[in-house]
Amino acid sequence: MLAGQQVEFNRDIRPILSDRCFACHGPDAANRKSPLRLDVPSAAGKGSEIYARVTETNIAKRMPPAYAGHAALAKSDIETIKRWIDQGAPWQNHWSLVAPTRPNGGGIDEFVRRRLQRDGLKTSAQAPAHTLLRRVYLDLTGLPPSPELAAKFTIADYERVVDQLLASPEHAERMAQRWLEWARYADTNGYQSDGVRDMWRWRDWVIDAYKTNMPFDKFTIEQIAGDLLPNATLPQKIATGFHRNHRTNAEGGIVEEEFRVEYVADRVETTATVWLGLTLGCARCHDHKYDPLTQKDFYSMFAFYNNVPERGLVYNFGNEEPTIKAPTPEMAAKLAEYDAKLRSAEANWNALSAQSGKERKIWERRIKDRKEYDWRVEKGLIIYDDLESCDTPCTVTEGKRGKAAQFNGAAQVSAGDKANFNYMSPYSFAAWVKPESENGTILSRIEDYWEGEGYGLYVKQGNLHFVATRRYTDISLRLETEEKLAQGKWQHLAFTYDGTRKGAGVRIWIDGRPAKIKITFDELTYPFGPKVPFLIGSGGGMKFTGAIDDVRVFDRALTEEEALSTAVLETIDQIAAIPEKRRTAQQRAKLQLAFLDQGASAPIKDTLAARDAARIERDKYNETLPTVMVMVEGPKRQAYLLKRGAYDARGEAVESATPHALPAMKPEWPRNRLGLAQWLVDRHNPLTARVQMNRMWQMFFGTGLVKTVEDLGSQGEWPSHLALLDYLAVEFMDRGWDLRAMEKLIVMSEAYRQTSAASPEQWQRDPENRLISRGPRVRLPAAFVRDQALAVSGLLVNKTGGPSVKPYQPPGLWQELSGGAYREDKGDGLYRRSLYTYWKRTVAPPMMINFDSPTREGCVVRETRTNTPLQALNLMNDVTFVEAARKFAERMIREGGASVDDRVAYAWRVALARAPSAKEASAARLTYDRFVKKFDADPKAAERSLNAGASERDKSLNITELAAYTMVASLILNLDETVTKE
């Protein structure tokens, strides 16, 4: 601060106290070393005491205490404190916790100029038109302007261009790119083996929201609590995917609650970072040491997010519940067509029911004298064993249908490598059994010990017992019937599983009666793969004692009618001979199925077949529809303060509430996520608008007005322009949270339009451009470095939305860490914008990481930029950029004119929106000449140098020339200016 300037508590004193004193004399009660608090208004009266202690010469008494390893305050800090006391030691609430009011002043430029004047600096001249054009293109779309536009653009067109860009889909993608980073969006779970998930429909939602310039308050409410809005629409539910984007753990053996708590805590911390710019995560284990955030505040926020009906241990592959089907509008329309077809097919079928009944009766009369006329369900029947014979030690005995196999506790019958079912495949079993022991295996495909891998149907302690296991103790499905099977008596069993990975998807009938099922373990989260054959009477470490007959295995889930029919021993003619009223339900089912299959007339068969086909078609299509993980409000789960943040150290019960130091929720808001969302975007919330505007400033200028964009709390940096920040925040709210309006306000300002070239004096006085004495000059974000190269080369496939794609990646990166192969896309997928690149969290795309992209493991809002040799290697040698250089070179030759100079000039315009200087042109020309000479002498090298990438080489072009231009093109892609926004 300048000599003679008024000391301002928040700007000048609070940072010193916060950094050096609050840890022991601040908000954290547990760590407070004395009753003295310096974080509350009463500190105002303590000025002299503070001064005395920090200047104490007796080192034992000096503060901060030397015995705890702390150094004395800097002289300048002591001086500032002295002046504060001299001025009466006034105290202020921390600036960011007081709602912003409209400051005096008339807009961005006035605030910027005022601040510059104070430091004796001036604004810079307006940037040249081409610089400004490229700047605003990169800022608003992440892509460069076309060379045609660059050639004719004048400053007079600027506003029109800005309006066009703001309305473009590329702008929506650009905004989505950064929101994805904040939202820790990825295509995998992020822990351990890092399985795949599908959240791209949520990404589509974000792009759509930006496309329509959805106001930020609505944008917030829908993502945090779209599901709780009255009559929530599908898009509003999809929006809540925001808080399911956190990492989830599928590692076997984890303690479920430990990770469920982690997910909820992640939501709290992400909410605080994204909307509030507060480090609330610090209060997870103890009261915040610097800000007025208590541990109870943390867990009160936690309570908002605690009621999602979710598990700690998740599926490793695919989306974890709760999920919803999230068709695109096109898909939804198509599904509606299928639904309509199905409804009409069903109606046709129902219309025939009377006729069908009549026909059946006629058919019954016709066949009742056809001796031994039988029928069974054949569809999906992959194993049928009538067990009329078997090898020793199994013996043959009297069965339910002919002979049966008698097992003596030592025998087994193998069906070989069949019925290789897995956790997501539906299947069914049917068999007659006569158990003569309380324990034994009926059928199985499982390793031969009790906790082995595979599946098995058992008698266990008398009950019918089913197990499907990857690892018995934690990745398995286990269930049993409530009733016991009768010993020494034939009973029929039918079992169906629908492939939903849940015990609820299993149905069992004993002698045609539905059995009550007790699910004892329901964690079939992982595929399994038994390497043993399908066995009858054995497996899982047990053998069957008793008789088994008529075993059927289906690779689909039978319908109830079908399942019941498997129990019927009577042949069709026998059933037909029974008077209709005396037939059992099973008999009726079997007869009806047989009739429809065999006896019905062509119109009935066709109508039925048409209905079944329509259903299959509809279900098959429905199955292909993308899902997205969403927020759902389940039954209330009591939240507790967790001591030291440990999941198993519960303290007092807490209810959902917003942090006590911020304005309270209005009574009319519900105490759930919806109320929380409303609170976040309420006019009285002092943080949300400031936080968003600060980050918008970062987006345009490279650094926020508060540099610590993730922390506007006590330890955050003092704003370089508080009045400007408040002006933007108030303006933002006054304009109905209109993001585009604010973007336009900034890019139309003189401050933004300054040139970024600076004199040595400016560099010295304002090295980071915090005073905005010039325009921004910062390296492009990772995604834009790649997107720009694709655009410049003409390879970019500019399609909006859709599933993630897999562009080039050096081979083996996945295998060497987590296994699994990365399969590069062919065609379009190689050339989409980077926000669509498949993001595997534990092995992120290397180019993105080299250029400082956040890893997506957690919420990151600060932009960082390094400058490393790996970036140089990446731009020179990565196939993405080598191929782009080749296509860029083709473009130069085809579109750039006839002479080398023309082509170079054209290339400059394509990449940099301007003509090259004489020096640049000659350097490029020199490069060209050198490489033409080289490749002329070595045409094979020329050809090899053009091999990179999947795109076709333009064979009409001279190879030597093309190779030389490719080197020039690569040179341009590697220029500092090219990867920089000027």
Binding site: A71, G190, Q192, D194, R247, E251, G253, I254, V255, E262, T279, G281, Y290, D291, L313, R471, T473, D474, G713, S714, Q715, G716, S756, A757, A758, W763, G812, E816, L817, S818, T842, P846, D852, T855, E857, G858, T866, N867, P869, L870, A872, L873, M876, N877, K919, A923, A924, T927, K934, A941, E943, S945, N947, A963, M967, L971, L975, D976, E977, T980
Partner: protein, 451 residues
């Protein structure tokens, strides 16, 4: 608690000198041989002869003391004790008990500091490895190597300061980029993975048909244009970029030179084992580690996987030992012979230990052990560690520590200490507070250090 002045963000040139560190360093670099999956302390270093009499006995409650187990074995119906099925002998002056599975390691017993009392807080791989490598179970913090490069910079002129190498081919638990990531530190401090397939460093090789001379000429043009831009705008980032391209050019030469073994003596290569010339093996990576150390790389991190013996221990563990025992021992000897062991700290160990009770099927041919965070063994050599020391003691079941516990944060503090760094002072301000590798914990274990 101001950031120390020596902690400059300028990497890639030497910053280490006696004045710059917090205290005089004993070690200039670390070679960390991470054994991922959790090698069993019971079969390798923590000899428990009394267990022989307790075979198949239930683990006593007095030992388990209600401590949590993983979800994999917590629902097991029994917890039968299994003693190691491999023999132990005492070795060297120190009389350290070392398993027959590690004959080469046994021969260097007197150079080792064996710590049998490491303990961790995590019970599953991902959080446990992340905890050891970043000081926090939750992803997002800088890795140990990043902290060290950030604190000390690099001595290597044309190589990164933090290099990672992974054994290929074996199965085992996945690894994650975050284990050598820089978290909130600038990405220039992230570990650079040297690979055994494709380019050793990603994008190192020039496109086909482009020679070194071509690249030189290209870079001269590039520098000329960038320089004129610098003159025009004055942005120092441009000067840095010109320098980074030069550095990249040098790396393109130095990395191939690094992997060229033609000048290594045959006997040295052979001492690392039969696989030492085979890229991607642990033996090859150990030899590379020494070559990297010679070239001034500050932190060299190797990963070898598949120590996760829930089952199949009887065959799997000896196989892992065959792959790693000789190379690790050879590395220590090789460093010593070159006079480098005194300032190179070699660390060997996994993310947790294994349970004394059997997990899964217990047969005469096989058994398994679950994750055990409460005690496990690591060894260190050189770089200021006290050689020939066995430190820490566990109970008869190798279940609880009974003397001299060393928490993961203590280990981290101690490793930093050897490098001349006070772990409480190597901090980085982010999101409103100063972060450090050891969070707010960690004590230097003085007793294992050379005085």
């Amino acid at each position: 608690m101001k950031r120390r002045t020596f902690l400059t963000t300028a990497a890639l040139h030497s910053l280490l000198n006696a004045q710059a560190t917090h205290h005089a360093p004993k070690a200039k670099r670390i070679i960390y041989l991470f054994q991922s999956g959790g090698p069993s302390q019971l079969e390798l270093f923590d000899y428990k002869p009394r267990l022989r009499d307790k075979y198949k006995e239930e683990l006593p409650d007095s030992i388990r003391m209600g401590q949590r187990l993983t979800g994999m074995s917590s629902t097991q119906s029994t917890f039968p004790v299994v003693p190691a099925r491999f023999s132990f002998q005492q070795h060297g002056q120190s009389g350290a008990w070392i398993s027959e599975l590690l004959p080469h390691t046994a021969k260097i017993a007197d150079k080792l500091t064996v710590v049998r009392s490491i303990h961790t807080e995590a019970i599953n791989h991902d959080p446990a490895v992340t905890f050891l490598q970043t000081g926090s179970q939750i992803a997002g913090r800088p890795s140990m190597g990043s902290w060290v490069s950030y604190g000390l910079g690099s001595e290597a002129k044309d190589l990164p300061g933090f290099v990672v190498m992974i054994s290929v081919g074996s199965g085992g638990q996945p690894l994650y980029d975050r284990l050598w990531g820089s978290g909130f530190l600038p990405t220039q401090y992230q570990g650079v993975k040297f690979r055994s397939v494709g380019d050793p460093v990603l994008f190192l090789r020039d496109p086909e048909g482009v020679s070194r001379e071509d690249r030189r000429a290209y870079l001269d043009s590039l520098a000329a244009i960038n320089q004129s831009k610098f003159n025009e705008t004055g942005d120092p980032e441009i000067a840095t970029r010109i320098a980074q391209y030069e550095m990249a050019f040098q790396m393109q030469a130095s990395v191939p030179e690094l992997t060229d073994l033609s000048k290594e003596s045959a006997s040295v290569v052979e001492s690392y084992g039969a696989d030492a010339r085979k890229p991607g093996t642990f033996a090859y990576n150990c030899l590379m580690a020494r070559r990297l150390a010679e070239r001034g790389v500050r932190f060299i991190q190797l990963y070898h996987r598949d120590w996760d013996h829930h089952g199949g221990l009887q065959k799997g563990l000896p196989a892992r030992c065959r792959e790693t025992d000789q190379p690790a021992a050879a590395l220590v000897r090789d460093l010593e012979q070159r006079g480098m062991l005194q300032d190179t700290l070699v660390v060997w160990g996994g993310e947790f230990g294994r349970t004394v009770y059997c997990q899964g099927r217990l047969t005469d041919q096989d058994y398994g052990r679950d994750h055990h965070p409460r005690c496990f063994t690591m060894w260190m050599a050189g770089g200021g560690m006290k050689p020939g020391l066995v430190y820490g003691e566990t109970d008869d079941y190798s279940y609880n520590i009974v003397a001299d516990p060393v928490h993961v944060h203590d280990l981290q503090a101690t490793l930093l200490h050897c490098l001349g760094i006070d772990h409480t002072k190597l901090t980085y301000r982010y999101a409103g507070r100063y972060f450090r590798l050891t969070d707010v914990h960690g004590n230097v274990v003085k007793k294992i250090l050379q005085s």
